[in-house]
């Protein structure tokens, strides 16, 4: 192996919400040849970023994708948007913030709906927070201070591979020995790989999160439960858990899709928020959603400052309105309410339930993504773009709200632009179209 010509340091990895920014990227001859510090997924993301790319802008003709120029693709996209009565703009969580801002402009101009992928990951978290608030945590604070860490309905070893090694099973300023001074628990319905690495695994029956959390709250408030077990967990074990939580100096609850996607959805989060609030009457507790896509937090943030609302925003009346369940992508598609879709950095054809696929196969889709995916197979227009954080710069937001600057490491393939530029072209052309 030869020495790399150029090494980029302190590069944020744009896979998951950890945005680990200690990655070293080795570049030779304009190609990424080595990755240091990254997890297996990070290595795959950087080293294989050039594989399976969308090679040209294309338009579907007679069931086949045929290559066109960027201008033609943009014109076709504008034609679709301009003639749509109800446009859905979706995705955004795997691209950088400036692309979001362009997408909102298009949504506003076209009177469409814009939703990001949080509606199918931590949307219920946001709904729970809107019920009762949130004692939010931060990762450095956890590393420096937390003596009790709970992962709930989350499998960090699979989804956030370095979360444990970077933030929890690591020494911090006031936690000198991360094994002795800090305990890590996992609460889940199955014994995942993470279960084997933690200090304590609490297994609950599927769909009982709400009952278990509510029972913990009741026990914390000194109530006695008239049952022997809740969610398959003996009450004595729950009592032990409550005592330990109360006696922690600084506790943190990291929760995953096991809580947001299961029965109860935002009610689970509401209950968890209240449990954490109650615990703050005794000691310090915070909570943090384990955000999946690297910039789903950013998508919520950009949407919030520009429109007031974090996702599920409808511009049909010329100003932003918000209603999850109505203006969320799965609902709109499952009900067949939209007649065109602009999809940016997401793959709804692979990740949405079957009923949505039916609508997806019937409406024109403009798909903007660096790579081929299941949605690109369906799309009426495909426009390849640069990979943010590798081929263009930008900003993204870590799961704890920390904004980070994404670096440009190498040039994108020739003629391939960042999402923001492609969306900007669509906006400009659409503006002319609308004025006509």
């Amino acid at each position: 192996m030869t020495e790399a010509e150029k090494v980029f340091t302190d590069v944020p990895c744009t896979f998951c919400g950890c945005l680990c920014d200690d990655i070293e990227v080795e570049v030779n001859d304009g190609k990424i040849v080595g990755i240091k510090n990254g997890c297996a997924i990070c290595k795959s993301r950087f080293l294989k970023h050039h594989e399976n790319r969308l090679e040209h802008p294309s338009i579907m003709k007679d069931g086949e994708q045929s290559s066109v120029s960027l201008d033609e693709a943009v014109s076709k996209a504008v034609e679709i948007i301009a003639s749509a009565r109800r446009l859905l703009i979706y995705g955004l969580s795997s691209t950088e913030n400036d692309a979001h801002r362009e997408a909102y402009k298009i949504a506003e101009l076209a009177g469409g709906v814009v939703d990001n992928t949080s509606s199918v990951c931590h949307g219920p978290t946001i709904l729970g927070v809107q019920e009762s608030g949130e004692a939010a945590g931060a990762l450095a604070e956890v590393r420096n201070r937390a003596d009790l860490v709970i992962y709930w309905g989350s499998n960090p070893l699979a989804a956030h591979p370095r979360h444990i090694s970077r933030y929890t099973r690591v020494a911090g300023e006031y936690i000198k020995d991360p094994k002795k001074d800090r305990k890590i628990w996992l609460v889940d319905i199955r014994k995942s790989e993470t279960a084997r690495t933690v200090d304590k695994f609490i297994k609950l029956q599927p769909g009982t999160d709400l009952e278990v959390i509510s029972s913990l709250r009741a026990l914390l408030r000194g109530h006695r439960l008239a049952v022997d077990e809740v969610g398959g967990i003996p009450v004595s074990e729950l009592q032990e858990a409550v005592d330990a939580m109360k006696n922690a100096k600084y506790g943190i609850l990291f929760f995953g899709l096991g809580l947001t996607q299961s029965k109860g959805r935002f009610r689970n989060i509401d209950a968890a928020v209240r449990l954490i609030q109650d615990l703050n009457s005794y000691t310090k507790w915070n909570m943090m959603p384990m955000r999946g896509h690297y910039n789903v937090s950013g998508a919520n943030k950009t949407s919030t400052w520009q429109t007031g609302y974090p996702y599920a925003v409808d511009f049909a009346r010329g100003y932003p309105r918000y209603q999850p369940g109505e203006y969320t992508a799965v609902d709109l598609l499952a009900r067949g309410e939209v007649d065109a879709m602009l999809n940016i950095a997401a793959d709804p054809a692979a990740h949405f339930p079957k009923a949505c696929l039916k609508t997806l196969s019937q409406i024109p889709i403009i798909n903007i993504d660096p790579k081929e995916n299941m949605t690109s197979r369906l799309a009426t227009v495909n426009i390849p773009v640069a990979v943010a954080g590798i081929e263009c710069d930008g900003a993204a937001v870590r799961m704890d709200g920390l904004p980070l600057y994404l670096h440009k490491i190498i040039d994108p393939p020739e003629g391939v632009l960042p999402d923001r530029d492609v969306l900007g072209m669509i906006y400009k052309k659409l503006e002319k179209e609308v004025k006509k």
């Binding site: 896979f15 997924i41 591979p161 199955r190 599927p206 959805r265 079957k354 997806l360």
Partner: protein
Amino acid sequence: MSRVGVKVTLTSGRTLLQGRTLEEGKLTDAYRDAVSYVELDGATLDALGIEPGSLVEVETIYGSVVVTAKKSRGEEPGIAFMPCGPYANTVTSDDTQETGMPSFKSIEAQVFKADASTISDIEKFVGGNP
């Protein structure tokens, strides 16, 4: 012919391999292999009379899909796990209960030994009529 099915609670979630392969490409064989299986415990495999690696049909009221059976490390009777992705989504619900979020976790399902000789064709899902 009557079929012997085993009732399970089906859940879906992330795996490391699913993450790695989706970064390579969503249309690769590697990605397909990473998301087209179901993890079952030994007792369930025995009840179905199959070995790990055999094909099974996972059926819910929302649909059914043929995938490869794997033996779960956790040995948890009654729990079936599928990596999130197009195969799992074939059998999940689009009902969001007015939240935007479909039911991706803990769905009642039955698992059968498959009659088919290959896993379901991913292309067909995209067509909307698997």
